[in-house]
Amino acid sequence: MIRNKHVLCAFRLIIGGLFIYAGVIKIADPLGFARDIQNYRILPPAACLFIALALPWFEALSGVFLIVGIFKRTNAWLLSFLLAGFIVLVIITMARGLDVDCGCFGSLSRKADGRLILEDALMLYMSLQIAGQRRPLQ
């Protein structure tokens, strides 16, 4: 577990910044994101739209809170769960042989593939380092 304050601070800035960017770009285009979710062919349209409306705000808020230091560890855990979920989703998508855009960064998204899993895993590692800081939550 990394204990260096500066490294952990850099991790917060990277993870927080990436999620703010991912959130804001999707808040601006909810329909585009809804279509990306629909491409995964897992959820009905109403659920896709609901997620497309709420998830970008969740990403952006968590990113801001993580950087500012509000509910820091809770946010790091939440983003870790989210990243773990993304990894599982991409693995399932690849196993089903679907050829889809990941939907991660709006129109700048690329294909849901093995490289995306590695990137998500790296982000998950950073996020877990922040979440696992020594100071107890309670």
Binding site: A34, R35, N39, F58, S62, W77, L137
Partner: protein
């Protein structure tokens, strides 16, 4: 231990705030969805004009009469394993910016553009139609049954990446 009361309280607050902000920032979109104005493929009716959804029979007629330019929105890999003869492959994930302008410019005017993807559930055909329509092409047709319906009907097909 992460699963404390405080964790759930904080997580609930963030999730609740996200849902409230998400719903309130897109009220018109939600109304449009509830009125059934966002189908098929969640494509907004606002993007609908200029796009015509066609059936297998219509696609077959255009193909047989040589009046249609068929565009395959699937990936290069899917395209190479089989496609409608003389179709042009424009993978949706590559159809951005300059690439989509070049595709639009390369389509002969006066011919019916027919876009298709893998089948009824794939939204990329419609999405590509919107992009091409926005490039100034009018009456862009989307063959909703797609490749699955075409091949199931025993219609002509060809393999490989050779394009006309």
């Amino acid at each position: 231990m992460i699963l404390t009361k405080r964790f759930f309280a904080e997580a609930g607050l963030i999730a609740g705030l996200s849902v409230v902000l998400g719903l309130f920032s897109h009220v018109p979109l939600i109304r449009q969805f509830l009125r059934g104005g966002l189908s098929p493929g969640l494509i907004s009716t606002e993007t609908g004009p200029g796009i015509i959804l066609i059936t297998l029979a219509e696609a077959e007629d255009l193909f047989a009469g040589g009046q249609g330019v068929f565009i395959d929105a699937r990936s290069r890999k899917d395209f190479s394993t089989g496609h409608i003869p003389a179709a042009k492959n424009v993978p949706f994930e590559e159809a951005k910016g300059k690439a989509i302008r070049e595709v639009a410019a390369g389509i002969p005017r006066g011919k019916a553009v027919v876009i298709y993807c893998s089948g009824k559930e794939c939204p990329t055909g419609l999405a590509l139609a919107v992009l091409l329509r926005d490039q100034g092409l009018d009456e862009v047709r989307v063959f909703m049954g797609g490749w699955d319906e075409w091949i199931a009907a025993g219609l002509p097909a060809e393999r490989g990446n050779d394009q006309e």
